[in-house]
C-alpha cells in the first residue's frame, strides 16, 4: 500500500529521467571515443553554443546531485577532503574534485575543456580553477555581471556577455579546429526554446487545484533543460511530460489526494532526502512553485541567437537583483495560490542562502506569507539533522493549519 502511494506521487514521465541521465553520460563516453571534445560545464553556461560547436557538455553538478541521490557521494567527498578541500566548501565541488582525485573511473569522461560562467556564484570559478590545476585542461571563464535592472539585458552588460561568447567560440575553434555552424546554432536555439516553452507551460499547470505535478517531479524533470538543451530528446521528454500533466489537470487529479497546503520551495533540493518531500505530502502539503525549477527555462529568439543566449546566461534566477527576485516570488504567490514558503538554507550554496532571511522577512512582514527556514546541505548527508527538521516542518504545518 505504501509503495503504491509512493508511486502515485511521481509522474510516469519522471520515472524515465534516471535512464535519460545514464544514457546522456554514456553518450559522453561515445563522443569521447569518436574524438569529439567533451566539456565539463557549470550549469547555466551556454550549452546551445557548445552543442553547435560539436562539443559534448556534461555538468559535474549533475554528477554530484546524482551521486548524492544514490548514496555514492561520500567516498568522493572524503577523497577531496583528504587532499585538503575543506568540508565547508560546496558539496558538489567536493564530489567533482573527489572524482578527479580518485582517478575519474565512472560516469564522467575526462574533460577536454572546462567552461564556466560566473553568474550564480563565484564558487564556480574557484572550483573550475582547481580542476584546471589538477587536470591541466584548457579553461574558459566567462562572466555574467549581476543584473541590477532589466536595462542590463540590453546595455553594455549584455554586450560584454555577447563578446565573451564570441571569445568562447574563438577558443574552441582554435583549440579543437572546429567551426561554428550558424545554421546549426539556429536550429539548436529553436529546440532549446521549444523545450523551455514546454516546461513553462507544464509549470503553469501547477496552478490547478489539486496540483498535478509535485516537488519530486520538478526536482528531476529539469535535467533535460540543464545539459540537454537544444536536443530532440529534451523536446520529446517535455512534450510527453506536458501531455501527462495536462491529462491529470483535466481530470482534476492531484499528486496528493487531500491537498491542504500549497507551498513555495526556495532552494536546490536535498538530493539524498527525497523522502522529505513525501513527509510534506503525507501531511497534505504540496510544493507548487520553486524558483529553482523555473530558472532553467528561458525563451530564446532564433533570429538573434548569440544575443539571446547571452540574455539567458545573464538572467538566470540568482543573477537577478533581489528586488526582481522578490517581485517574482510575489507574482508566484498569487499565481499559484501559495499558503506558505519553505526556504532551504543550503550550506553549500552561500550565494543563494545569504540573502534568504531578508527575502523571508519581506514575504512575511509585507505580504503575510508564513515561512519555514531550515539548514542542511544539498548533497552532503552529514549535515542533515532529520529529526529536528521534521519537527520544524510539523510546527510549520500546524501554524498553516491554524490560519
Amino acid at each position: 500500500m505504501s509503495s503504491q502511494r509512493e508511486r502515485s506521487r511521481v509522474l510516469q514521465s519522471t520515472r524515465k529521467i534516471g535512464e535519460l541521465i545514464l544514457e546522456y553520460f554514456s553518450k559522453a563516453w561515445d563522443a569521447k571515443a569518436q574524438g569529439k571534445p567533451v566539456a565539463w560545464i557549470t550549469v547555466f553556461t551556454p550549452v546551445e553554443l557548445l552543442r553547435a560547436l560539436d562539443i559534448y557538455p556534461i555538468a559535474p553538478e549533475h554528477f554530484g546531485a546524482m551521486c548524492s541521490a544514490r548514496g555514492l557521494a561520500l567516498d568522493y567527498f572524503q577523497e577531496a577532503e583528504k587532499k585538503g578541500y575543506s568540508q565547508n566548501l560546496c558539496s558538489y565541488s567536493r564530489c567533482g574534485l573527489g572524482y578527479v582525485l580518485s582517478g575519474m573511473s565512472g560516469l564522467m569522461p575526462p574533460p577536454d575543456i572546462l567552461v564556466t560562467f560566473r553568474n550564480s556564484c563565484d564558487v564556480y570559478v574557484k572550483w573550475w580553477q582547481s580542476l584546471r590545476m589538477h587536470l591541466g585542461t584548457p579553461l574558459f571563464v566567462g562572466e555574467a555581471p549581476y543584473v541590477l535592472t532589466s536595462d542590463d539585458l540590453d546595455n553594455y552588460v549584455l554586450d560584454y556577455v555577447v563578446k565573451q561568447l564570441e571569445q568562447l567560440v574563438n577558443m574552441a575553434e582554435e583549440k579543437f579546429g572546429l567551426k561554428l555552424d550558424m545554421d546549426k546554432l539556429v536550429e539548436i536555439v529553436k529546440l532549446s526554446d521549444k523545450a523551455s516553452e514546454l516546461w513553462l507551460e507544464t509549470l503553469k499547470l501547477r496552478r490547478f487545484k489539486p496540483c498535478p505535478l509535485g516537488g519530486r517531479d520538478s526536482a528531476s524533470d529539469i535535467f533535460p533543460l540543464v545539459v540537454m538543451q537544444g536536443t530532440d530528446e529534451a523536446v520529446k521528454f517535455h512534450e510527453e511530460l506536458l501531455n501527462e500533466v495536462k491529462e491529470k489537470a483535466n481530470k482534476r487529479e492531484g499528486i496528493i489526494e487531500n491537498e491542504k497546503f500549497r507551498l513555495l520551495f526556495d532552494g536546490i533540493w536535498l538530493w539524498y532526502a527525497f523522502d522529505l518531500i513525501k513527509y510534506f505530502e503525507d501531511r497534505g502539503a504540496i510544493f507548487v512553485y520553486e524558483p529553482y525549477s523555473e530558472a532553467w527555462a528561458y525563451r530564446l529568439d532564433a533570429s538573434k541567437p548569440l544575443e539571446s543566449i547571452a540574455r539567458k546566461v545573464l538572467a538566470m534566477g540568482l543573477n537577478l537583483d533581489i528586488d526582481l527576485r522578490i517581485e517574482r516570488f510575489l507574482e508566484s504567490i498569487k499565481e499559484y495560490q501559495i499558503d506558505g514558503a519553505v526556504l532551504f538554507s543550503n550550506r553549500s550554496c552561500k550565494s543563494w542562502s545569504a540573502p534568504q532571511l531578508v527575502t523571508a522577512d519581506t514575504l512575511s512582514k509585507e505580504f503575510n506569507v508564513p515561512y519555514l527556514l531550515f539548514e542542511a546541505d544539498m548533497a552532503d548527508p552529514r549535515q542533515y539533522a532529520e529529526a529536528q527538521i521534521k519537527n520544524r516542518i510539523d510546527a510549520f504545518l500546524e501554524v498553516l493549519g491554524e490560519r
Binding site: N88, D122, Q167
Partner: protein, 362 residues
Amino acid sequence: MTIPSDIRDLYKNPRAILSQYKDSGAKAIGYTCSYVPEELIISAGLQQYRISNIGTSTSALTPSFVCPFASAVLENMFKLEDFFSGFVVAHTCDPMWRLYDILKKKTNKPLFLLRVPHNTDNELSLEFFKMELTRFKKFLEENFEVRIDDTALFSSIELCNENRNLLKNIYLSNNGDKYETGALDRFQLALASMWMPKPEVIAQIKALDFHNCRSDNNVRLHLNGTSVYDLDLIKIIEESGGFVASDDLCTGSRYFWSNVEKSNDPLSALAYRYLKRTPCPSHGPLEDRLEYLSFMTRGFNVQGVITFAEGFCDPILYDSVHIRNMLTKNGIPATLIDYENPTQEIARIKTRVEAFIESIGG
C-alpha cells in the same frame, strides 16, 4: 578636525574618527573592499572610509555558514549607519556580493554595487570595468550633487599614488633579508590610510621614523589571506618569534602595491590599476596569485607561509590546496589557520602560530 596624535593608534578604535567626520560636516562614504577606487570618492569631495569587521559580532541577517568577516562588516554598516552618507559594495566573492542584496532591503542610504570582473587579464573586462567606474562616478555625482571633473580626478589620483608610494617604500625596506620595519607598524599605517583624509595621513607617515625594528633573528614569514583588521593577529606572530616580512592581504600589500599610471583618460587609468592590481583570491587566474606568492616569498627571503583564513572563505579555502602544493614543491613550509572570531580564538591561534614557527626553527 582633530587628527589622532599617533595614527598608529587608530586601528584600536577606527570608529572614533567617524564622529569627527560627522561633527565637522564631512560626508563619509563607507566601502567594503580594496577594489573600490578611493580616488573617485575623494574626487567627489567625500571622505573614504573602509568598513572593517572589528568591534562587532556577526550579523543575525546572514546564516552561520556565511563568511564571518563579511557578516561582521555588514553588522558594522548597520551599527555605524548614521555616520555614513552612502555605501559602496564591491562584487568580489559571494558573501560580499550578497551584502548588497541585504543592504538594499535594509538601508535608506544611497547604495552602489561595483561589479568587478573576475577576469583581470583581458581587454573586454577592462572595457566593462571602465563602464562600471563611469556608472560609479555618475552615482556619486547624482547622489551628492557634485561634478567630478578630470582635474579633481587627477588630483585625487596623485594623492592616492603618493600614499601608496609611501606605504610601499616602507614595505620594501624589509626586502631581501632585511629587518627594518615591524609588521605591526606597516599594517597600522595601511589601515589608517583607508580611514583618514589623504593629505593628513601622508603628512603623518612622512613624519614617522620606522627604522627601529627589533625582530632581527625572528623567522621570516609571508602572510597569506584576505583582510586582517585585528592587529592582535600580527602581534601574536611577532611575539611568537615570527617576522611578517611580506603579505598578500587586502589590508596590506594588495592595497598599495601598484599605482595608477599617468594618462589623459583618468577613468581608463583607474580601471586598469584596479583590475590589474595584485589579485584577491576571488579574482583573476589562480596562476597569477601563485606567481605573486612566489615573487613575494623569494623577494623577501621567506622561511614559511601562514594563511589566515576566515571560516567559510571559499576563495581562500580552494586556493590554499594549490598554494600548499606549490610551496611544498618549493620547499617552503606552510600552514593554514582558520577562525571565525579571531578575538575569541586568539589563544588557539597563538598556539598554532607558535607551533608552526617552532617547526621551522624559530
